[in-house]
């Protein structure tokens, strides 16, 4: 995949954010993990987003309208921007919403991109806990600097300490 295509994806997401089509967003999943770790294979880009609300109702229509009007096609649960499958995931849990609010803003070439902090990625992967999430957990814990205080606070707030302890016991002791 060409870098230009990734650039296009981030530009589109930024435009949606600036125009208020989405209230907030952050890159999650493998691509967010790769920002902090060695590169590893992935097929898509996961983006958590918060939709604007109108009279207490979450609006998803403007989001789909924006992308479909731009001519982007859907494929299964993905939206294709060029040849890149993008999975837009509406943030539904408090953990996901807090993770988006506290995301890091980084640069991809000259484009600003919001990426989840590694401590929140760890919490999200612990919650989902599929084998591929456990792989990402190991990469994050081994290859990047983790703010232990922040991580422990997140784990405590979202009641994930027990699972974290079990994980550490299984893979690190």
């Amino acid at each position: 995949m060409e870098n230009k295509e990734i650039e296009r994806v981030f530009k589109v997401v930024n435009k949606m954010y600036q125009e208020g089509v989405i209230k907030d967003y952050a890159i999650s999943g493998a691509v967010a993990t790769i920002y902090y770790t060695e590169p590893f294979a992935t097929q898509d880009i996961d983006i958590f987003f918060i939709s604007p609300k109108k009279e207490g109702i979450i609006l998803l229509t403007p989001f789909y309208d924006f992308l479909l009007k731009k001519g982007y096609k859907t494929f299964k649960e993905y939206i294709m921007i060029g040849n890149t499958p993008i999975q837009f995931i509406p943030a539904s849990t408090d953990l996901e919403k807090e993770a988006i609010e506290n995301a890091n803003t980084v640069k991809y070439k000259n484009i600003e991109v919001k990426i989840l902090k590694p401590e929140y990625l760890i919490a999200i992967f612990l919650k989902v806990y599929r084998p591929k999430d456990r792989d990402k957990l190991i990469k994050l814990l081994d290859q990047t600097h983790i703010n232990k205080t922040l991580l422990l606070n997140i784990l405590k707030t979202f009641k994930l300490n027990k699972r974290y302890d079990e994980f550490i016991k299984k893979y690190y002791e």
Partner: protein, 56 residues
Amino acid sequence: MNNLVGKREKDIEKYRKKIFKSKEECRRIFAKEPFEKKIRLAFELYKRGEYLKKFK
């Protein structure tokens, strides 16, 4: 003779440890590469993986 084999196994084990240690070191170096390069590699790795699956 047994001792000789034993020594070789020990050497091999030592060599293996050296390889794994070096691989871990490489991973940490790769982690510091620019984001642009790492994303490109990630999608390339996926493509190569898919290609290799064809030969199953």
